[in-house]
Amino acid sequence: MTLRIDDVVLTYPDGDRTLTALDHVDLDVARGEFTAVVGPSGSGKSSLLAVAAMLLTPDSGRVTVAGHDVSGASPAARTRIRRDHVGVVFQQSNLLSSLTALEQLLVMAHISGASPRAAAVRARELLIAVDLADKEHKRPHQLSGGERQRVNIARALMNRPEVLLVDEPTSALDHERGIRIVSLLAGLTRENGLATVMVTHDLGTLPLVDRVLTMADARLSEDGRKTKADLLAAPMGAGE
């Protein structure tokens, strides 16, 4: 498995008690598999992504990313594994305001010390893939929300990651643009053989994914318990 989370427990300090955000969670994602995680607010979805991105170290359990067991890795080693094997697409596009669309991608190569020449070729390819070839010299404030999110996706793919983690990519977009972003992610996941985990509130995008998992009260539901059809039939939020 390209991304494997085994029996992970994560707690946050909460006054004199602790708050359990992930309660014995297991997750396996294979190459080319597009997995969505849905669930009510505060159920622990972002926490799950943070653990997979090695931004948080769980209290117990194992995390394996692209073949590396990162449970006992040092912060520097985790940063390096994230840089080389994990792409992160943020909820808000979180682009750097002083950089053009092309430079948002080039900075990834600079961070990892890759050759600038090869990086420029790769960055232009990716901008074409997300249909932004004509916007490469635009800065974030000159781009629309959907365009920014596409730059964000292209940036996450710059260092050829095996794992792609996506947190609510469509929350700032209208439905139609949201659908376009998610189908772009689905295409990229298949073409590049990525293990993709996407957290979303937008149930309309679920027909585009391979697998839907539900997070509730810090627990991730087993595969198959809930199908896409179930979710669509009984939209979540009703019980929230």
């Binding site: 972002s46 943070a50 994230r82 840089r83 750097l96 305001s97 947190d167 609510e168 929350s171």
Partner: protein, 348 residues
């Protein structure tokens, strides 16, 4: 410097403002440095150019050696000549007086020395200029304290206590000064490592290195001290201003820094990037400020005492850059504590 350079270009206005502050402070520091050195030269050059390595003062109780209080006796002088390791011990008399030539006259420091013949006077170039006289020219006779002297030479730009210098023989000095002492101080040339402390105790004198002797000129310590203090404050202010600027800037960048960390940039990479940015601003601001200061000094050199040298231009520029970088480094280290987790989720 990938992000740093683009931030510089993107936030041009803010960085230009910061650079302008650095430029102005450096300009001020450079001009102050040149002026401090120029004023010091006018105050002490006749002492620092003495052909000697030590200056002997007559001790006066506990107080520090002082040219205005010191009077050495004949015995002191003779005994000092006999101290082992002292190759020459010469008398030097110093009084402030008035030197006149025809209608023109000016205040001057009158130095009695051993290598000028009785009845003759050597004028410093500043004094010759003020009197309008050249040796062998129109004004070959000058009056000092009611006595006539023949100008034998003009030598050097020496000055003492902001006055030009006239050198006469020590014998003539003793007569014009009307003092019972043989000289003000004794100047020594030494070889090896003579036991000066023992001789001082025995003879009731205080010996100091020639280059420390300017402190014994009344006005020098306070004048130089206050100028150096101003310079020090300017350096401290600039370090603080730069530190404050980069503190605010770093806080503004926290979001970007979190994103870069979440994307896999190491803390070391981000620190280097931010410090390089500060150094670029400092190099430009301090470099241009220093060049303008040197230019202004060169232009004003005739009107005010100003020394243009590496010590008064390159050194203050280098100190500005180093202190500014230190101030920026303190501010920038906050990058270390930015949590990449804040880049995730809706918190931005």
């Amino acid at each position: 410097m990938f992000v740093a350079l683009r931030d510089l270009r993107f936030a041009k206005g803010r960085f230009a403002l910061m650079g302008a502050v650095v430029l102005l402070i450096t300009l001020l520091v450079t001009m102050l440095s040149g002026l401090t050195a120029g004023l010091a030269r006018e105050n002490i050059s006749a002492i620092t150019e003495l052909p000697a390595d030590r200056v002997v003062f007559a001790a006066s109780g506990d107080s520090a050696p002082s040219f205005s209080d010191s009077r050495v006796t004949d015995t002191m002088w003779r005994e000092w000549q006999r101290v082992p390791g002292v190759s020459t011990a010469e008398r030097l008399g110093i009084t402030m007086g008035r030197v006149a030539s025809g209608e023109r006259g000016t205040g001057a420091a009158v130095f009695g020395v051993e290598n000028v013949r009785d009845g003759e006077v050597v004028l410093s170039s500043g004094l010759a200029e003020e009197l309008g006289g050249e040796p062998g020219g129109k004004h070959t006779t000058v009056r000092i304290s009611g006595q006539d002297f023949t100008v034998s030479a003009t030598a050097g730009a020496a000055s003492y206590s902001h006055a030009p210098v006239a050198w006469i023989s020590i014998g003539d000095w003793q007569r014009t000064a009307g003092q019972d002492a043989v000289a003000t101080v004794i100047t020594l040339r030494t070889s090896g490592d003579p036991d000066l402390a023992a001789a001082d105790t025995r003879l009731g004198t205080v010996t100091v290195d020639r280059d420390d002797a300017p402190a014994a000129i009344g006005s020098f310590s306070s004048e130089n001290g206050s100028l150096q203090l101003m310079r020090g404050f300017l350096f401290a202010i600039s370090a603080l201003v730069i530190g404050a600027f980069f503190t605010v800037w770093t806080i503004q960048r926290r979001g970007d820094v979190a994103v870069l960390k979440a994307l896999g940039a190491s803390t070391g990479y981000l620190l280097r990037d931010a410090l390089a940015q500060a150094v670029v601003v400092l190099l430009l601001g301090a470099g241009i400020g220093g060049a303008l200061g040197a230019g202004a000094g060169a232009l004003a050199g005739d009107a005010v005492p100003f020394v243009l040298s590496a010590a008064t231009t390159a050194v203050p520029v280098a100190v500005m850059i180093l202190l500014g970088a230190a101030g920026a480094a303190l501010a920038i280290r906050k990058i270390t504590s930015v949590d990449p987790l804040t880049a995730l989720g809706a918190s931005r």
